[in-house]
Amino acid sequence: MHVVASFEHSNFLELAISDLEEKGVEKNRICAIPLHKMVKERALFDTLHRADGQSMLDLPAIMATIFMTLGVCWGFMWKWGPIIWGLLAFVGGVTVGLAIKYLLYKNSLKENFRCNTEVVLIIDCKPDEVETVETVLFNHLAIGIGRKA
């Protein structure tokens, strides 16, 4: 029998494999296949598990720095002072930067879909091991688990 599970890359995955080995599933009965992404990876916001090298924060950070510098300069002459104007300008710069980034990447977002599977794990089990193996996989954050008789 075979149990198949999908995972994201994480230390839980290695813990799951070592847990299986502790429970008597030998190394040559475990097959791990890291997947290559077939879609063009491009998302507006990077997450813990995905990133596309297109930094969402570069333009907002640049705009925020420019705006904040000017806000501090001019804030000395305005009623609320440099702190409030510096902070307001910072927020304004981030907003402007994010807005520009969003407009630039709005079109390419459409081809993005959310699929987290990064590794497929296949375990060759004896029938009496199936329950244990599935429990181990479930306890280590498998995204999906299936079996083939």
């Binding site: 097959c31 813990l48 990133a51 090298g53 925020a64 002072g81 990064e118």
Partner: protein, 258 residues
């Protein structure tokens, strides 16, 4: 050194080198963004690329010449239309030495980013090995998945903290120490307190113009750099783990489902 033995492609074009205090590694950078950070504050572009020694030197030079020439005060006067006061306040003895090194730092970091991008692509194609961890008596550096927004959040409180979270300790300490110095000399936190109490005139009066103008650049850079590094460390983790699983858990004896 290893005379006679040619290095393997993987040794010649490494992807990442881990020490216990940080992992220095190559990933694709936008050279214009790097050049911008060098313009905002000489040294930042190099620090972001991982060229710490050059980066720290250029940063120290900037702090010395800027403070001695009163450049920041000159900038504030110029931006607010008080050109005569700007001319009067700057110290030409120092100011004139500013331009060449400032331009060098922009030019140099731009070119480094372009060159390192090429090496990064070569390292990727060679599948150069990545160390998963490095431990020493002083520190424990483990490649792990970290949330870039948590890093940004800490950095927004105090620049440097996010870098400590993502384990890029040289940048972390560097930003932390300079931020504390700038916060102290600029009287920033006193001004915060006055502002919170609605005493805007007092807040304006207590602030030190010169030192407060350093802070937007430092804060902006810290947030950008910690975000990029956390995201790229996560990608490094994925690559390392994929290579490990492929080499260890694809036994030829494995019986695929039929």
């Amino acid at each position: 050194m290893n005379s006679g033995n040619p290095q393997s492609p993987k040794q010649r074009r490494p992807k990442a080198v881990a020490s216990s205090i940080a992992t220095n590694f190559l990933h694709l950078r936008n050279p214009y963004v790097i050049a911008w950070w060098s313009a905002a504050f000489p040294g930042f572009g190099h620090v972001s690329l991982g060229n710490y020694v050059i980066g720290f030197l250029l940063f120290g030079w900037e702090m010395l010449v800027n403070t001695q020439s009163s450049l920041n005060i000159g900038i504030i006067y110029s931006f607010t239309g008080r050109y005569d006061m700007a001319k009067e306040i700057v110290n030409n003895r120092w100011l004139i030495s500013y331009a060449p090194v400032w331009i060098f730092s922009i030019w140099s970091s731009y070119h480094l980013a372009v060159d390192l991008n090429k090496l990064s692509i070569l390292a990727d194609r060679n599948h150069s090995p990545i160390a998963a961890s490095n431990m020493s008596f002083f520190e424990i550096n483990i490649l792990d998945k970290r949330n870039p927004w948590v890093a940004v959040w800490w950095t927004a409180f105090t620049p440097g903290l996010g870098h400590l979270y993502t384990h890029r300790i040289p940048t972390g300490f560097f930003l932390l120490i300079w931020w504390i110095a700038m916060a102290y000399y600029s009287h920033l936190l006193q001004a915060f307190q006055y502002t919170a109490l609605g005493l805007f005139a007092e807040a304006t009066a207590v602030l030190n113009l010169e030192w407060v103008l350093y802070m937007p650049s430092l804060m902006g850079f810290a947030i950008y750099d910690v975000y990029v590094n956390t995201v790229e460390y996560n990608r490094l983790f994925d690559r390392e783990q994929a290579a490990y699983l492929t080499s260890e858990y694809q036994s030829t004896e494995f019986i695929m489902p039929k």
